[in-house]
């Protein structure tokens, strides 16, 4: 289906990543945002607050991130596409509702403009240190989706993808920006609405008497309804059966949790978005994501210019982790280098995927700025020796 033109600001713009992310959400059909101010993410909601009155929807600034992260879920059951926006400290407060979104299968987008941590850390400076938090931060087993844009243009383009994936899989989707991507101003081209593919919510075709909220019809993702349409649904954060009713048995728990994980794990091939350059003949492969990929590109280009067989695999979808693709690259690559703006998070996933078939080297950075290209280049030279 094509985007609703009322939310699409067609044209060529010179805007930062935060503003572009907001435009991406509007183009994707997001019509309800609840949020709480936090640097360096605030511009996303500021723009939404300015734009939404004439697009037709609601922005509400709530009392905290806890409220914001559940108000959006109420709005989903009221029929809207939704998003909330935050940075590390706010993300920490939202964790319980990540779990609620996972177990109730509530399609929603959480934007995290990452800054240095832990705690208040570096409010105005970048990091990529929330990668494991979004995967594991809420209690219990769940599988989120996460995307890592590296430019304002991608903040627009990938935001539409984030909303589409939320609808397709009914999971919380994390949009993992960072302070640099959020505050970097570049050209952003917004195409006409008829060139933007959006995935609409999959409403049930069943009548109320036949409908069961968590019946999956074989494809692992149940069809939805909204409150007010006569279905009289019950939605709970408790372990529930197909009717949505609480059921405290190990059998119900096993069936539910397995499906929540499998709807992502068994679709990992469809959720693969790794952008590769020169990996076909690479002895050394740099694996990067988000802003770090732009630094890595500079280092890889330099190394290639010097005749080194180095490749670059950029993870655009970071969760689910593309383990099968990394394992395939390990058939040829002898050394993987993993620069990231944290002290070594996603490198652990690379190590698991590679499983000893190649050397894996972490290039950590505690945040506050991006890597120097020379740092990555030096590691490439060392690995290529």
């Amino acid at each position: 289906m094509k985007a609703d033109p009322s939310g699409v600001l067609v044209g060529t713009h010179f805007i930062d990543g935060d503003h572009a992310a907001c435009e991406g959400a509007l183009a994707a059909g997001c019509r309800f945002v609840a949020g709480y101010p936090i640097t360096p993410s605030t511009e996303v909601v500021e723009r939404f607050a300015a734009r939404i009155p004439l697009v037709g929807g609601v922005f509400i600034q709530l009392e905290d991130e806890i409220a914001s992260s559940i108000a959006i879920q109420g709005a989903v059951w009221g029929g809207k596409k939704v998003m909330t926006v935050t940075s590390g400290p706010g993300l920490s407060l939202m964790m319980e509702h990540i779990g609620l979104a996972a177990i109730t299968e509530c399609p929603c987008v959480f934007v995290d403009v990452q800054r240095g941590g832990p705690s208040t850390g570096l409010p105005t400076l970048p990091a990529q240190a929330d990668m494991m938090q979004v995967k594991w931060g809420s209690h219990g087993d769940y599988e989120p989706i996460a995307l890592s844009p590296n430019s304002p243009q991608e903040c627009f383009d990938l935001m539409i993808k984030a909303f589409n994936l939320a609808e397709m899989y009914r999971v919380p989707v994390f949009f993992m920006m960072d302070e640099v991507v959020g505050h970097m101003t570049e050209r952003v081209v917004i195409p006409p609405a008829d060139q933007i593919e959006v995935v609409e919510r999959r409403w049930t075709a069943k009548k109320p008497a036949e409908y069961r909220p968590y019946e999956t019809n074989g494809n692992m993702v149940p069809d939805m309804v909204k409150a007010g349409d006569g279905y009289r649904i019950h939605i709970t954060g408790l372990t529930h059966d197909e009717r949505g009713y609480p059921s405290m048995t190990p059998a119900t728990q096993d069936k539910l949790v397995r499906r929540l994980l499998n709807k992502i794990r068994l679709n990992a091939d469809k959720l693969l978005d790794v952008r590769e350059e020169h990996t076909e003949d690479a002895d050394v492969t740099v694996i990067s994501f988000g802003i770090t990929s732009r630094v890595a590109t500079a280092a890889v280009d330099d190394a290639r210019a010097q005749g080194l067989k180095v490749g670059h695999a950029r993870l655009v979808i970071t969760w689910p982790f593309p383990a099968a693709r990394i394992a395939a690259l390990a058939e040829r690559t002898k050394v993987f280098l993993v620069p990231e703006l944290n002290m070594g998070q996603m490198v652990q996933e690379v190590e698991r995927a590679v499983a000893g078939r190649a050397k894996v080297v972490s290039i950590p950075h505690a945040g506050g700025t991006v890597h120097e290209p020379e740092t990555i280049l030096a590691k490439i030279m060392e690995a290529a020796r």
């Binding site: 509400i60 409220a67 559940i70 709005a75």
Partner: protein
């Protein structure tokens, strides 16, 4: 025949409340003598008398004994997280303004962990009816100190008697801007039903506190007898003072209970305020949100 099936079959009798309940979820989990079921009975009757289209009524609960109410109502119903039914209900209401959204939860849920949300939703005059079943304790977890536990009452986490000042809930609701504030006890079933009916027809943030017994924990631990003894206490010690100054309706351990409708006023709701304001700011370019527009 299982006991459960026997109970279900017994419900075939003409019970006026049954159409409002999810029959396939009965029997409920509440203890004998608990007052929550009584309030649900009142709620069902209020829904019936309200004339509302029940397909357009949603109920949202948090966590705890009262948090289970949502699961038993034959409405669109949401059992959310601890302390957060009000922000969930806020999102639901704003996403679909044609819904009448009721928050039904306990004192610990709404005023301890969820206190901040209550204050702000009342301040905004969010169009919600909030029913708080106040049993002075955390029932689901075994009888711990609540922000409503009267001074002197014993709880597992106040084993020598409570020395903390409890909240006066109607005063909070009033001070934060609620447009309707009432308190009743589960003895006052007619008045509860009427208050809920009024709350359902009110535009804006309506708050109803219902004092309710927890015979399993609060009454037993404080040697106050069973559920019937507590209702007798409510009957004897309740004083109806409609329009009372909410500052003066504090509760004390087994003391007098001031009940009645304390506040009933008009104030612009959040959504009406947004629509009015943006109409002024943007003129005809702005289409009122949540209002059906005739397509031209």
């Amino acid at each position: 025949m299982s006991t459960e099936q026997a109970v279900l079959d017994g419900l075939e009798i003409d019970n006026p409340v049954m159409p409002y309940l999810r029959k396939d979820r009965i029997p409920h989990i509440w203890c004998p003598g608990c007052g929550i079921g009584t309030t649900v009975n009142c709620f069902a009757r209020a829904l019936g008398e309200s004339g509302l289209d029940l397909d357009k009524v949603a109920v949202v609960s948090g966590i705890g004994c009262t948090g289970r109410v949502a699961g038993y109502m034959n409405l669109d119903s949401f059992h959310t997280t601890h302390g957060r039914p009000i922000p969930f209900a806020t999102g639901l209401k704003l996403a679909n303004p044609e819904l009448k959204v009721v928050v039904y939860s306990g004192d610990g849920d709404l005023f301890a962990i969820g206190g901040n949300h209550f204050f702000h939703a009342a301040r905004r005059n969010m169009d919600l009816m909030v029913v708080c079943i106040n049993n002075h304790t955390y029932g689901m977890t075994g009888g711990q100190l609540a922000p409503t536990t009267p001074m002197g009452a014993t709880q597992t986490t106040m084993p020598y008697g409570n020395f903390e000042q409890p909240f006066n809930l109607p005063f909070i609701a009033d001070a934060c801007g609620a447009v309707y504030v009432a308190r009743w006890t589960v003895y006052h079933v007619k008045q509860i039903t009427r208050a809920m009916k009024e709350g359902l027809s009110k535009r804006g943030f309506a708050f109803i506190e219902i004092i309710s017994p927890c015979p399993t924990l609060y009454s037993r631990r404080n040697r106050l007898g069973d559920g019937v003894d507590m209702v007798k206490y409510y009957k004897e010690k309740s004083v109806i003072k409609n329009g009372a100054n909410t500052k003066e309706v504090d509760l004390s351990f087994q003391g007098e209970i001031t009940v009645g409708k304390f506040v009933d006023r008009e104030r612009t709701t959040w959504l009406d305020g947004m629509n009015d304001h943006f109409s002024k700011v943007f003129g005809s370019k702005f289409k009122k949100y949540g209002v059906h527009h005739v397509e031209d």
